[in-house]
Structures are given as structure tokens and as C-alpha cells.
Subunit: 258 residues, 3 copies
């Protein structure tokens, strides 16, 4: 059984390596796939959407995810069974969208059994002391119910995903993420026009519907379907984020021109 | 059989993790070595030279490389047999230098057989849908010829590697790469003088031939043979890139002083 | 036997991938855990402390570490036996703190036997040509004594770890590290007051003792015990490094307020 791992730990500190070590001490020979550890610190929604986009491409197994600004506080530590796949992480909305892409939450348990944790549990690093150990034990075949009491799935914290809205022919959308190529991922799947004006704060630019980067001229603003199926703003050979001075969470206004 | 993987995807997005997942779904237990995913976005030449430098140190197997600004456009997706090693990636010059370090291209095939791709193929992420699946299938032992029609090796796209040139005793060289330590890798293997003036744009500095960083005083500009066998400009305990305000692609002029 | 690997190579260059390749050519199927490669270039002390913090969480095996500003110079290349765990790296203080967390140095050998190196050894990349090969051979079961002559453990280079000091009720401490979350790790384990003034250069801020990030208000300066057991300055949802304009190596003055 393979463990996949997503976090906001970055790779410049030893946090990810330590979690790998913890898992391999519990489960020697364990296979681990790192999805990414580049989620911005504390960006739970971005982590949740990234995990949901990645999971369909990963082998079934245990999906460990830690974006956990509330570590050591009131938020619960949980493990979910989603039809043959397990999810382990904080109960802050991080896991639900991914669990729902693969069949939804069948059962949920709180991680309270210290037999499956590193003790004493540090108040600042549950990735190392609670979540990684739980993931490794699940990968070894420990039953979910062993990890702690059952929870009502309906009571789990849900993430708030911003919805697009229309007003007077203008579509208001939100930038969900900016990738390394400067592409702006939007919270819509499509637009119905071929040429649009994109406005964010004071910046206005024309954008053209296209199929892929290679369909545009260098520097041109394109609207295309990205690899997650969402609409994205892109600049071939450049960066839409720079061209529009846009960041995750920004609202964009799309006005049809043709 | 091991798969090595180089790209310009970075590690802050889930692209690399998703490709790992795709390969392990096809080939459970597959071993993957990440060469680097830090090639600058779209920097095909730098990717090609980095791959060529790394391959001799990697186990034989399948070498997957994706630096692919033309994704979804006219450029072909290819797999090469280079004498017991396979290369998979776009036909944009990325693979040829590496293939030539290990014996040259014996056979080339275009990746057109959708049986070995994830369909429908997204126009923006052939790494996930075309290249990673092809690499995993080759690692499993699928014959190259199964992946698509044979291509004439002579017709593959070659990268343009800048050549140094001389004029009036001045050697004109190009910065191929800048590494984490601020070392400037040049497109020459040696110089014939012990003391030179290095000029780039308006900046002029004296540089001394040395064997290793420890041979210099802190802050001193050195010229030394780097681990790829090329000449590099280095500053012990500092950064030659900062000292000279130089970037990849810059032309440096070397004037002998002694 | 598993190899863990820490360095200051970063992940944007192929250095780490090449070392992985070298080890897997020598020891096919070798398991490798990357602790981190984000140690700042040449930051031997930070590398040493990070390795020491990580090793207790890693499976026993070979610990390869390369932060090596003196590469190619006079410093020795060494391998240590620390009671069932081996350490491989430069003799510049990088390995000793970690070796001491797991029982201290039983035996030390210099890496001089070229049979276990890649030759000719490049003067600028002993990670590839000396250290990674030695680690892989140790993982395969080669005896430590095969790698070169025995050294007196007492003669190994020790790192200088800054000590806190007191003067007129003010505690002078040093920032050992800044992590991705902007937390400042200090060279003390505790303070005896609940409210303190933190001063660094011209900046003064009040800080409150807390147990975890979730105990503070956004923007508030907290002093808490981090996951290594050291005291750290943190800002919930923010960055203490930004709030105090502090960097690794800075001296902080702590004045009790209550």
C-alpha cells in the first residue's frame, strides 16, 4: 500500500524528510509519493483543491495531507475511509473535496489513540507525531477503528469554495491558484465567448479563447481549459500572473467582447 | 527498470507528484529518480544540457524529460532507443544531447498510440497524459514500436548550443547556466591563461584560474573546471552571478592578462 | 539498509538527482530518504543542527550529509560509526552533533580508498564522486575500515554552537534558523517569564509565552517550544522573521516584563 503526501511544509526545512523517516520506521519499505509540499503556508483551500485534483491520478492507498494552521488547538485530527482509499489529516476542510472525488466519506474516525502516535505529541508538529504515524499504521493494515472514536461524517468541517457569479453580463470569478508558469486557475470550467476583457483591480486586458499555449502569440493573453478541467488565464512564454498583477484569491471580471 | 525524470514543472505545484502517481498506477513498485524539476519554465536548451550531464551517472532505464513550451501544438511526442536506454519527451531538442552521450539514437518512434496514453489527452499537460504513461509502459517492457510509428532519427529537432568565438585575442563565451551557488557555467572547457579579465555588459572583473573553491580568498573571482568538465566562474563563499550581475544566456568576454 | 541524505545543493540543479543516481548504480534498489537539500549554501552549523534534529526520527542506516564549502581543499572526507548508524560527509563539524544524538562516535575513518570513489574525483563535487559512493558502499555492507585509514575521534572538527548569555537581567540569544513559516528558532530551551520584550537591532516587540500557534491572535508575537524542543518566536498566520526583520545568526535580547 502506497502513501501519498501533500503539505505546506516546503522542502527547505527537514519537516517532510522527518515525516518520511517516521513512516519508514513504522513501515519499513513503505512507498511514498510526494504530491507537493509547496502549498502556501496555511492555505487550506488551495491544499484541498490540489489534493482533489491529484488523487484520481494516484494509486489507491493512504493519502496523507497536512496544511494545519490550527495545529495543537481545537481542530480535530481525523482519518477517513473513502471506499478503499484512506485520508489522514486535520479536520479543517483539507480532506473532504478529495474524498468526494473518489466516492465520498464512508467512515470517519478521530485520531486519539496514542498507541499509534509518537508521544509526547509536540503541540506544534502533528504531521510528525500524529498524522504520519497514523498514515503508516493504516498502510500496514491497522483498522481505522483502532485509531480512535468514530465521527459523524456530516459533522466534518467543509472548505468554503468561492462560487462565480454574474451581474449585468459580467462574470465575476476567483483566482484559485497561480502555478509556476504564471497561469491563473479560475473557479469556472468554461466561458461562452471567444474574446473577453479580463479586469482585475485597475488592470484590463483582452483575452482570447484557445486550446493550448502553442495556439497563442508570445505575450498574448489566452483563456484555456487547464489540466484540471478548469478555465485558466495564460500567457505563452510569459506569466499571466505578472501580466495582470494577480494573486490567488483575487477576483477577476470577465466581459464578453465577441 | 528505473525511470529518471527531469522537467521544468517545479515542486510547488502537484505536476511532478501527479506524473509519479500516473507511472506507479501503470507500473506498481516502479523506482523513480528525480533528476531535477527546477529547469526554468520553457528552457529547453538548459534542460537538454542538464539531462546530458546527469544521464551518465544514472542507472540504465527510461529517461523521462519534459520541458515542453510547445505542448498541444505541432511538435511531436517521441521516444528514443539509445542503446539500452530509452528517452521519452517532446521532439524539441530536449533529448538528443543526452541520447548522444550514451551512444546516440538507434531508433525513434512517435508517441501516437492512445492505448499507452491517458485519454482524453489534455492539450496542456502531455507530461501526465502522454509522456509519463509512455515511460511507465517502456519500463514495464512494452516494445518501443508499440508506441507509434518509426521516425527518421536525422529528422529529429536538434538544440542550438551556442559556440564560443575569438576576436582580437578576446574570447566570447556564453553563460549556459547559473547554479544555486551562483557559479556561472560557460560553454568552454578551458582557457589558456592564468589571469583574465571577465567582462559582461558594463562590469569588468579580474579572475584567476583555480582548481577548486577552497583555492580562493572569499570574494575573489575564480575560473575553474566544474563537475561537468566545463569552465565556470565562481566566487568562494559568494556568488559569481551577483558579482557580475550575470544571467543564463549572457555573453562574457574573456581577455587574457597573464 | 536505508540512506538518508541532507545537503545544501537545493533542488533546482541536478546535483541531488545525480547523487541518487550514483548511489543506485552502486546499490540497485537502495532506499533513500531526502531529509532536506535546502540548507543555505555553506551553512555548516545549520546543516549540523538540522541533521541532529532529524536523525532520531530516521531509520537506522547510513546518513549522508554534504554541506561542504571546503570541497577539494584541506578538509578531510570522513565516515563515522555511531553505534549501528553510519555518517558520511566532510570533516567540518557537520556530522558530530547528529552522531552524538545516537550514541557518539565509536570509530572514524578517512575516505581515501579510491576503489570506493568515482575517479577521477572532481575537485568541486565530492558529493557525487566521494560521499555518495561511500554511503552506497556502506549500505551494501562494505566495512568502514575498507574506506580508508582510522582517525582519532577526538581530532574531528567540532562545530561552534553559539551559547546564550545573561547580563543585567537581559538574556542574549541567537537565531539558529528561520523556517518556512517565519518562525525564529533560538539557542535556548525555555524562558522563565510569561511576557517578554524581544529586541533585535532597532526593533522591539512584546512576546507572550504560549503552547502552540493556535493559542495566539493573528499577528501576535509568541514564544513557544518548537518541535525540536527549542524556544521559537512565532507569529500565528504571519512571520516572526518579517515582524522582527530577523535572520539566522542574529542576536536577540529578551527582557522579562512579567
Amino acid at each position: 500500500v502506497l502513501v501519498s503526501f501533500l503539505s505546506d511544509f516546503g522542502l527547505d526545512d527537514p519537516f517532510v524528510g522527518i515525516c518520511h523517516g517516521v513512516m519508514r520506521r513504522i513501515a519499513p519499505g513503505l512507498e511514498i509519493v510526494d504530491i507537493t509540499h509547496g502549498i502556501a503556508p496555511g492555505a487550506v483551500l488551495h491544499g484541498a483543491l490540489t489534493l482533489a485534483d491529484a488523487v484520481p491520478y494516484l494509486p489507491a492507498g493512504v493519502h496523507l495531507a497536512v496544511v494545519d494552521p490550527g495545529v495543537g488547538g481545537e481542530r480535530r485530527a481525523i482519518a477517513l475511509d473513502a471506499g478503499g482509499r484512506f485520508f489522514v489529516g486535520p479536520d479543517n476542510g483539507l480532506l473532504l473535496p478529495a474524498a468526494e472525488t473518489v466516492g465520498g466519506v464512508h467512515r470517519a474516525h478521530e485520531l486519539t489513540n496514542e498507541e499509534y502516535a509518537l508521544t509526547p505529541v509536540a503541540a506544534t508538529f502533528h504531521g510528525r507525531d500524529v498524522f504520519a504515524p497514523a498514515a503508516a499504521h493504516l498502510a500496514l493494515g491497522v483498522a481505522l477503528a483502532e485509531l480512535g472514536p468514530e465521527l459523524e461524517p456530516a459533522g466534518l468541517v467543509r472548505p468554503h469554495v468561492p462560487e462565480p457569479w454574474h451581474e449585468e453580463g459580467v462574470q465575476h470569478v476567483t483566482v484559485l491558484a497561480v502555478d509556476r508558469f504564471g497561469n491563473l486557475q479560475l473557479n469556472v470550467d468554461r466561458v461562452d465567448h471567444e474574446l473577453l476583457e479580463v479586469e482585475v483591480r485597475e488592470v484590463r486586458r483582452e483575452a482570447r479563447l484557445a486550446r493550448t499555449y502553442a495556439d497563442g502569440r508570445p505575450g498574448e493573453l489566452l483563456l484555456l481549459t487547464d489540466s484540471t478541467g478548469r478555465l485558466a488565464v495564460a500567457v505563452p512564454g510569459g506569466s499571466a500572473a505578472e501580466a495582470l498583477a494577480a494573486r490567488p484569491g483575487d477576483e477577476l471580471r470577465l466581459r464578453p467582447l465577441r
